[in-house]
Amino acid sequence: MRFGGHVAVDRVSCAFRAGVTAIVGPNGAGKTTYFNLISGQLAASAGRVRLFGEDITRLSAPQRTKRGIGRAFQLTNLFPRLSVLENVRLAVQARADMGKSLLSTWRSHVELLEKAAFFLERVALADKRDTPAAALPHGDQRKLEVAILLALEPEVFMFDEPTAGMSVDEVPTVLQLIEDIRRKGDKTILLVEHKMDVVRSLADRIIVLHQGELVADGAPAEVIASPVVQEAYLGISRG
């Protein structure tokens, strides 16, 4: 991915399977750009993105979402004046492909409302369902972001720093949710995360980006111990 003369992500070629892959690297390493390339928020200047063998490089973000890529954003990205429930209901509605229904009322689709309420329960936000999203504290907004992603029921879950800005008490709820998805064993989870303890506890595989390039890829223990990662990411010099 090239921005003018700057190459933000350069030939990072990876295949992701079911399980949690953590993408780590220092600030500016290109992690979020890499995420944007996969989810379609940015169009790649070269290279290919494939999903279950299908080339989706030229597909837009909504088309990729419909094919099963779901994403939670690093900077909370909600519908601020809509209620918490409505934020999630819109995701459920998108998943059910009911957005173009013109003549029924949204309230009559009780199944969508119930499903949205279920996902709110899972992130412990059920009691705030009628609050406008903008009025939630930051930690709750992060949880709502995760609930929206869950409601999309994707094949590929993309979490961009899901616990950033959360209080210590709130972190386990989100980690447990990711762990629950992982335990089912059939979903691919991509996780950008700075907190190494979170990465250690969840990841089946770690890839490390540094200055837009892939510098390490493997099992957590092996990658964390690798000298190149110690230097590039953890700031420990080799000699």
């Binding site: 909504p62 990205n77 519908f79 819109l90």
Partner: protein, 334 residues
């Protein structure tokens, strides 16, 4: 009632009374307020409720700023006018005129939407402004077809030509039904997607909604409703011309009505249009009364002179925006 209002109840007792009052006045106007002028005002209120509601679908619900809305209003008027002038005052010519004008509006709205809704809001607004100006010039230049600046007088089929009352109730009934249809649309799953686009287009895309498709659809629906309103207005006036339908002052009035009533609420369109049209027509009379009664006081009669009605309308608008930034309905529902 809940079904009729698509589950979107007024949620405020005062608003409920206001809406019932507006509907009752429209239904009973020919009997309670006899006279040509009051009936004209009532018919204009009915048509503008529909027109403002259709504009609110774009501005209030989807966040699209379009200046081409009066163009679609005009297409409806000219559709009826040209069909009646060319094919004679028959029901089939009226139906053909309405059908062709709806088709023309749909094609134009689709083209404008698809070509320009991908660009930033300000550019879209400028494109619609340019297209609307072009259409206005076209309407005055093609005088053989459109009657130019003079417009077209319309002869209606015998029943409507004979009975103003029948035309009035047809206008009110169709406006009411189409208003309810708009209320249904904004309360449908589609309407909620429009709201989500207004709130955060980027996020709506990330959920899988192709926002350009939804925005284009909203643009087409708004245009169709505005065209229907234009046709109704022409039916009522038995006339269509650039000043009656295409003028930019109507566009400004539309904006004011949406803002005064409350953006993003269909009921706001009803309240805003009624208040504005009534003020537009009766503020001068009210001011004449006030000016006469203040005749002994220095300066005041001059300030309240009926010729200054636009100044006071402007003041009313500023007061409204200042005290009710979310519009009258937004305030009442709080």
């Amino acid at each position: 009632m809940n079904w009729l209002l698509s589950g979107d109840l007024p949620r405020s007792r005062i608003l409920a009374f206001l809406l019932i009052g507006i509907l009752a006045c429209l239904v009973l106007a020919p009997f309670v307020f006899p006279g040509t002028r009051s009936l004209n005002v009532a018919a204009k209120v009915a048509v503008f409720i529909l027109l403002v509601a259709s504009y609110d679908l774009l501005l209030g619900y989807t966040g699209i700023v379009s200046f081409a809305h009066t163009m679609f209003f005009g297409i409806g008027g000219y559709g009826i006018g040209i069909a009646a002038a060319r094919l004679g005052p028959t029901w089939s010519s009226l139906a053909l005129g309405i059908f062709l004008s709806l088709l023309a509006s749909l094609a134009l709205a689709f083209a404008i939407g698809l070509l320009s809704l991908r660009v930033r809001a300000i550019f879209f607004a400028m494109i619609t402004l340019a297209v609307a100006s072009f259409f206005q010039i076209l309407a005055s230049q093609l005088s053989e077809l459109t009657g130019g600046e003079d417009g077209l007088n319309i002869r209606l089929p015998a029943l409507l030509q004979r009975s103003r009352l029948a035309t009035y109730y047809a206008v009110v009934l169709v406006s009411f039904v189409l208003f309810l249809l708009l209320l249904r649309i904004v309360n449908s799953p589609f309407g909620r997607v429009l709201l989500s686009i207004r709130e955060n287009e980027f996020r709506a895309e990330a959920l899988g909604y192709r926002t350009v498709v939804y925005r284009t659809l909203a643009n087409c629906l708004g245009a169709l409703m505005a065209t229907a309103a234009g046709a109704l207005y022409a039916l009522w006036l038995r006339y269509t011309g650039p000043d009656a339908t295409l003028s930019f002052s109507i566009m400004i009035d539309l904006l004011l009505m949406v803002v005064i009533g409350g953006m993003g609420t269909m009921y706001g369109a009803a309240v805003g249009a009624t208040l504005f049209v009534v003020a537009q027509n009766y503020l001068q009379d009210l001011m004449k009364l006030a000016s006469d009664s203040a005749s002994g006081v220095p300066l005041l009669p001059n300030l309240l002179h009926p010729d200054r009605w636009l100044l006071w309308l402007g003041v009313l608008f500023i007061v409204c925006v200042y005290y009710f930034p979310s519009g009258i309905v937004g305030r009442l529902r709080r």
